[in-house]
């Protein structure tokens, strides 16, 4: 498949991050059109018709979420989620560093559609370059009249500012992000109420991933029908896939949702080094269960991956060749989640740490047959019993690997350790 990129169209241009390059390549045309030709409600209708689904992991329909924002006059906010930290994911960093104005333009249109008066950009504290990109891009957008008072003479005002996280993965979860923006510990809050109802300081707040917002200008420029014609019936539009692990050409790829995994890996990413076979593929970031080698013909869209017992997640594809130890993969994911558990609820905090201990024992050759039951029981105890969806992520990653590669876990136990080549 050849596909003319939409979201990554400008990223190979020299100085692609500058406002001048953006303006010379259709930049801010969609904003002008949105403010001139659309009432806010019509924009919500347009995004609903495009069937755009969120790119931050959960795939919730964007237009529907916009529609949940109350029409009342009180303060409303937009949060731009740049907290990308799910292992395997590096698309948002690319968008922020190489084409920040595309996101800003999408964010202004979204804010206008829901009547938000302020937009907060929450960025991972570790993204030093991204923070600089955001600050410069926002300042330039202000200087050219795309932000601030009376944007492009429309009478609409929007302030936008950058807020730096400080090294907590959980702050990517929308309610934890709001806590952090308020200057608190980044602990998630129980939903409902959803942020669209009670968000920043208790006011209606729309939260979107960077990539979701980057799609908005294109929908305004080319129409909902054009957008919905890309991808599948239920997963519309272009998607950025992050490919890492055992492939020749690692990196970001943009294709319509619904591209086959095999095509992406073998025709575009160059296949596996050394001509080795693939053992497993993690399709959507560390929190999604791995696919097995017989599932490579799957198409990459929300519905197919869900049907296969996994998830599209963030579109972060990690390729594991035949020599990879799956116990080690599970152990690494478990370590990640144990490290990042915010500690607020016991099943997640304690359950994940116990899972790490068990997996480390198995990996080190100290495993006993009961350990597998113990792991299953731990997953069972976490599943559905945590405050936020992080618990489910843990279970997907650990339980999902155990179910599919149980024989490998058993082998570790019976043979006293890992037989995979180091």
């Amino acid at each position: 498949m050849t596909f003319e990129p939409v979201l990554l169209r400008r990223t190979s241009l020299p100085r692609s991050d500058s406002i001048d390059v953006y303006l010379a390549n259709d930049g801010y045309a969609a904003l002008a059109r949105a403010l001139r030709d659309y009432a806010p409600g019509e924009l919500i209708g347009l995004v609903k018709a495009s069937k755009l689904r969120g790119r931050g992991g959960a795939g919730f329909p964007a237009g529907l979420k916009w529609g949940f924002m109350p029409q009342s006059d009180g303060p409303k906010y937009l949060c731009v989620n740049t907290d990308e930290g799910e292992p395997g994911t590096f698309k948002d960093r690319e968008l922020v560093e190489k084409d920040p104005h595309q996101i800003i333009e999408g964010a202004i249109i979204a804010a206008y559609a829901v009547g938000a008066e302020r937009a907060f950009v929450y960025i991972r504290g570790e993204f030093f370059q991204g923070i600089k990109s955001w600050i410069k891009a926002i300042a330039d957008a202000y200087a050219r009249g795309f932000l601030g008072q009376n944007i492009l003479g429309s009478g609409y005002d929007l302030e936008m500012s950058v807020h730096r996280g400080a090294g907590a993965y959980i702050c990517g979860e929308e309610t934890a992000m709001i806590s952090s923006l308020e200057g608190r510990r980044g602990e998630p809050r129980l939903k409902p109420p959803y942020p669209a109802e009670k968000g920043y300081w208790g006011q209606p707040t729309l939260v979107h991933n960077v990539e979701t917002l980057a799609n908005i200008p294109h929908i305004v420029n080319h129409g909902a029908e054009w957008f919905a014609s890309i991808g599948t019936e239920k997963s519309t539009g272009p998607k950025i896939f992050c490919v890492s692990g055992h492939v020749y050409r690692r990196g970001v790829y943009e294709f319509p949702l619904g591209i086959s995994l095999r095509e992406l890996l073998y025709e575009h990413a160059g296949g596996v080094p050394g001509g080795k076979a693939i053992k497993a593929v993690i399709p959507g970031g560390a929190s999604t269960p791995p696919l097995t080698a017989d599932q490579l013909d799957i198409t990459l869209d929300f519905e197919s991956l869900e049907g296969a017992g996994s998830a599209l997640g963030t579109g972060a594809i990690i390729v594991l060749d035949e020599d990879t130890c799956m116990v080690d993969v599970a152990r690494r994911s478990a370590r990640f989640f144990a490290h990042e558990s915010c500690g607020r609820c016991t099943p997640c905090r304690v359950g994940t740490q116990r899972a790490v201990d068990v997996l480390e024992a198995i990996e080190a050759g100290r495993g006993v047959p009961e350990d597998l039951d113990r792991l299953e029981a731990l997953c069972h105890g976490i599943s559905g019993n945590t405050f936020c969806p992080m618990g489910d992520a843990v279970v997907s990653a650990i339980g999902g690997t155990l179910v599919r590669f149980r024989d490998e876990f058993e082998e570790h136990i019976s043979q006293g350790g890992c037989a995979a080549p180091a």
Binding site: G88, R164, A166, E187, K198, S244, I282, I318
Partner: protein, 151 residues
């Protein structure tokens, strides 16, 4: 959310907390007791509340770190690309410390951290504000030599 969650708090001040902590950390090198007390006074918060929030975030340090803070990604993609433990072992060897420690002269601290969103160009590590990608052990040596030669 508990009732009264938003009561008795000045939103404009409270929301400044992370920014204030970054500024204090920059100034003092780490968040000493004194630094957190100062932040609390400025924002009308008790030292305990400041401490309680600051310690939630791994980038806020309550102890000094070396002039060069080396953070090696231990994520899956970095491991698959031959990084993570191998890189750390090499650095431990070169610096004569274990991950989590600081060299005696206070020049280098070594830590393992989670995914740096550089998985497509892994293995990756960060030293202070700079991200290094596609690392080989040879490159690590060159980077260290360069830093060792600086004042």
């Amino acid at each position: 959310m508990e009732p009264g969650y938003y009561a008795e708090m000045d939103p404009a001040k409270r929301a400044m907390l992370l920014t204030a902590l970054y500024m204090a950390q920059e100034q003092y090198g780490y968040l000493s007791r004194e630094a957190m007390e100062r932040v609390g006074r400025r924002l009308g918060m008790s030292p305990r509340e400041v401490y309680n929030t600051a310690t939630f975030y791994s980038m806020f340090r309550t102890e000094p770190v070396g002039r060069y803070l080396i953070q090696v990604c231990e994520g899956l993609s970095c491991h698959l690309a031959g990084g993570a433990e191998d890189l750390v072992a090499h650095l431990e060897d070169r610096l004569g410390i274990s991950a989590g420690q600081m060299t005696g002269d206070g020049r280098f601290s070594l830590q393992m951290v989670q995914c740096l969103a550089a998985c497509g160009s892994s293995p990756a590590m960060r030293i202070n504000d700079t991200l290094y990608t596609n690392l080989t052990l040879g490159q690590v040596d060159t980077i260290l030599q360069d830093l060792e030669g600086r004042p």
